[in-house]
Amino acid sequence: MLYRENGQFKSSYRTDQQIFPILQDRVAIGLLLAAAFVLVPLLASNYLLTAIFIPFLILSLAALGLNILVGYCGQISLGTGAFMAVGAYAAYNFQVRIDGMPLVAALLLGGVASTVVGVLFGIPSLRIKGLYLAVATLAAQFFVDWACLRLKWVTNDSSSGSVSVAGLNVFGLPLTTPVQKYVFALAFLAVFALLAKNLVRGAIGREWMAIRDMDVAAAVIGIRPVYAKLTAFAVSSFIVGVAGGLWGFVHLGSWEPAAFNIDRSFQLLFMVIIGGLGSIMGSFFGAAFIVVLPIILDGLPYWFGIPIDTALASHLTFMIFGALIVFFLIVEPHGIARLWSTAKEKLRLWPFPH
């Protein structure tokens, strides 16, 4: 009843092709953005911001990048952690070695470095797919793990591979309190989400999805598989690299290669699967899910009065993640995003059954 599109006629293809063609959606997004930019910083505690919101924002960004590669273009990648690491360490190097390098520029350049590495490790995708490609991306993961630990120039001669940043500022404004960091990360996410959405609904997005769905037919209608796959790797690793930089600079402050290890890669893949492959929204759902679930599991014992020690809680988290992956793959391979859009479809008809 509330969600009907009655009376909303489009008189140009341009308006029909916009991101949120339904008025109610536009209103909802507007409210969401207002809440995100204004309400949350005002009302949320520093703990909430640091423990939930900031990691959620940055991991959403990384999941967004991964979703472009896996969900839209169908190229499996188990090396996302590595690309985050490249982005983080490259940004670090740019900042530390070049005097007066602005933070935003360092982060973006970190993304560019990640793009180069991403395209390089994306070359195997031109010849192999599926599980074989998964193993190839593992090579990227472990190689970068090693490089960040052992190649001195990567870590600016740190002996353990760990680096730290301090005294961050953006165009002169300080970036130290959780609120400031939150708004900074949110701004990045909002901009990148818009750019990504534009890409996936444009010509290149259709090329990516064509490659994913049937690459032989794609070649026959004139799509170049090489261009499509490599651009998917490039765009994906750029976004993931920037997310890596944000993770290191804004969330962690100081980090070592282990922050971007294979567990991180799996975590991001889980976000994308549970959240919804091939959906920008899905990346957010997945990130929210994966960030919030361990916190709920940790807190459950207190709320229900059942004592669970932390080790057991972490084992249970593993089990629940694993079970959920299998559950989603069987029941709703398109993840929470599909459940959401099905719910919206039903909402359009509500209160009528059909």
Partner: protein, 261 residues
């Protein structure tokens, strides 16, 4: 049928031989196709018809022989180059992009004509925005032509088979091809659907002047709509001519019905 002006030869298949390992799919096939005509390729199952189409459109590379389009000879060209030369095709098994809507599938066929680069697309201002709207207009004309307007935003995987076949045709048409290769466009259709599809094929040939090469099993359809026919059997050419000539060719008859007493 309104008389169409059939032009000069625009597609020539010369001595094509194709083998997979030890299996000979095609042996020394030669025929030509004239501009604006509808050329059918027929033959019993396994005769090599789809393989022939795959050779023309660059999916398979024949070991021997060459193909020329408007005088341009190609022996080893990949599908994309062939697509750029103006050859489009549909698939026997519907190679549609199941995860995308009807509109997106057909828009994908317009990708060849789209010029905005990736950065322009990301920002979606000005040129990129205009281009999307222009291409959408073109695609909508195809949607109207194929009478699939109510389904334009439906995911292709959810549509009935007959309609999916139309989307396959629409995607090929989006490429504005000079030569359209149709691989069993009427497979699995009932009588009404076949009539609709025949009408579409004739209209495409009529309105856009597209040269059509089609593989088809339904003899009635072949006799009705094609100008000339090539007959293949076990990878060899056993007949070539107008439908009437081919129908009374004893080799063709025995290939389909077995040698008679």
């Amino acid at each position: 049928m309104s008389p169409r002006k059939i032009g000069e030869v625009i597609l020539e298949v010369n001595n094509i031989s194709l083998a997979f390992g030890g299996v000979k799919a095609l042996t020394d096939i030669s025929f030509d196709v004239r501009e604006h005509e509808i050329r059918a390729i027929i033959g019993p199952n396994g005769a090599g018809k789809s393989s022939m189409l795959n050779c023309i459109n660059g999916v398979y590379q024949p070991q021997v022989g060459s193909i020329s389009l408007r005088g341009q000879v190609f022996k080893h060209m990949n599908s994309r180059d062939v697509a750029l030369m103006g050859v489009a095709r549909t698939f026997q098994n519907l190679a549609l992009f199941k995860g995308m809507s009807v509109l997106d599938n057909i828009m994908a066929g317009r990708n060849l004509k789209m010029r905005a680069n990736i950065f322009q697309q990301a920002l979606r201002l000005g040129a990129a925005q205009r281009e999307e709207a222009e291409q959408r207009l073109f695609v909508e004309r195809i949607v109207d032509f194929l009478e699939i307007q109510p389904y334009r935003k439906t995911a292709v995987g959810k549509m009935p088979y007959g309609l999916q076949k139309r989307v396959d045709l629409g995607r090929a048409l989006a490429m504005e091809p000079q030569v359209l290769l149709l691989d069993e466009p009427m497979a699995g259709m009932n009588v009404e659907e076949k009539q609709d599809m025949s009408r579409f094929i004739l209209d495409v040939n009529d309105e856009f002047g597209t040269t059509i090469v089609l593989i088809e099993h339904d003899m009635g359809v072949v006799m009705d709509i094609s100008d000339r026919v090539v007959v293949l059997d076990y990878g060899k050419k056993i007949g070539d001519g107008t439908p009437i000539e081919v129908r009374s060719n004893p080799d063709v008859i025995s290939a389909y019905l077995g040698t008679s007493h």
